[in-house]
Amino acid sequence: LDALTVAVYEHAVILPNKTETLVSQDKCPVPYEREYRFLDRAIKHSAKQRNAQMTVTPEDALYGWKFSRETISLYLKDIPAPQVNWITCQNTQRFGYTPVQQRLSCLAKDNSIYVVANIGDKKPCNASDRQCPPDGRYQYNTDVVFDSEGRLVARYHKYNLFAPEIQFDFPKDSESVTFETPFGKFGIFTCFDIFSHTPAVVVVDEFQVDSVLYPVAWYNTLPLLSAVPFHSAWARAMRVNLLAANTHNTSMHMTGSGIYAPEAVKVYHYDMETESGQLMLSELKSRPRNEPTYPAAVDWSAYARSVKPFLSEQSNFPGMIYFDELTFIELKRNTGNYTVCQKDLCCHLTYKMSEKRTDEVYALGAFDGLHTVEGQYYLQICTLLKCQISDLRTCGEPVGSAFTKLEEFSLSGTFATRYVFPQIILSGSQLAPERHYEVLRDGRLRSRS
C-alpha cells in the first residue's frame, strides 16, 4: 500500500489522587476503566467512521503517573516478547491473567486496526541477577502494538526515563523495536527518548524505518521545547513520518499532538483552553523515502561556515533558556545582520521587520554546551526570539504573543552535527505554515520569497 490513514488521540487522563496505598487485586481495573472507555471510543471511531489503519494513544494514558513503585506494581503484568506470536484476544490465559492486554488486543482485532498503547511491564528477577531491585522485579514503562488481527507485534521498554518516573526501572540494554506492515516499516520509542541517539536516531538511521510511533506525556516549555514545534521539526530533520500522541493536562502544560511527515505537518492539535481530548487523522505516504517530495539531506553548517561574521558595535549579554545560559545580542533596528557566538558555534541572522514595535524586544542567541538538569545532553542552539518584556534580562523567558512581524529572515549556524531541528513558532504558540519558509540544503532557515 502506498498510503495509510493514521489516527492520533490526545487523551485527557484523569489522575488519581496521589496513590500511596496499596489496593487489592480485585480493584485493579478501576483506575483505568474510565481511561479505557475513552481510548476504546476514539479507536473505534477512527476505525469504523474514518477508516484509519492505526491509532496511537499517549504515554500514561491508561494509568496516569502519580504512583510509587509499589502502588503501580499491582497494575503491571508480564508482557511477553512479540516473538511468541500471541493473539491475546484469542488465547487469553496463555500468559496468565492479562486483562489490559486482552482488551487492547480485542479492540484491535474487532475493529481491524493497529492499536498503539502505553502500559507497564513487570518482570520477576532474583538475587542471581546482581542488578535485580530489592523487591524482586523490574518494572518498565512499556509501549505495545497490536496488529489488526489482535497480535502483539511490538513491545518497547522506555530506555530514557524522565527523572520523576520513580515507579519504573531503566532497561539494561537498549533495543531498537521495529516491525513491518503492509504500509511500511515502523519504529517506536517514548517521550524523553527523542533526545537520545539510542534509540531515536538509531531506529531511523540504522533501521531505516518509514514511520515512528511516539506516545508521550510531554509538558511544554517555551521557547524551545514545546511539543508540536519540536516534534514536527524532528520529523522534518530526520525525514520520517512521526505520529506523536500527547497526554492532555493543561495544569501541567501537557498538550500538543500531531501527525508529521518529512515534508509537511499533516495535522496538529494544541489546546491550552479546554480539558478535552482530541482525535486527529491524516493520510501519510507509507514509504516517504520513495516519494519525489522526499526532502534532500541538509548540510547544516555549509552556509554559516562560508560567510564572514557580521560585525556589530553592540554588546552581548547573557540569558537563560531552560537552565542553559545563552549568549544574546539585541536586534536594534527594523532590518539588520547579526552574528553571535558561543564557544565553537556562531549564529548568523539576516532579517527585515515590517514594523518593529517599540515595546517588543528581540534578540539573537547562541548556546554551545552540555545541558545537565533533567538529563545530560549536548546542545548547539541558534535562536531568534522575542523577549518576555523590554527588559533584556527576560530574553529566553517564555512569552505567548507577538505583534512585531518578520518579513524576511535567514538564520544559520556553524553546527558540528548533522542533527539540527528547525522550528518557527508564531504568536499564540502556532506553527508557521510551510509555505512561508524553507530549509535550504546549505543549512539556512529562510523565509520564502
Binding site: 537520545s196 549536548y378 518578520l406 508557521a432
Partner: protein
Amino acid sequence: RTPLPVLVLALYGRVFDKDPPRLGQGPRRFE
C-alpha cells in the same frame, strides 16, 4: 509575502558525540 508574528526561530542542534553515556538521570538522582 506574508509578514509573520514570530515568537521564536530556532535551529536546535544535538551533538550526540559529546553526550555522556546515558541521557536520563532517573530516580537515583532525585532520591
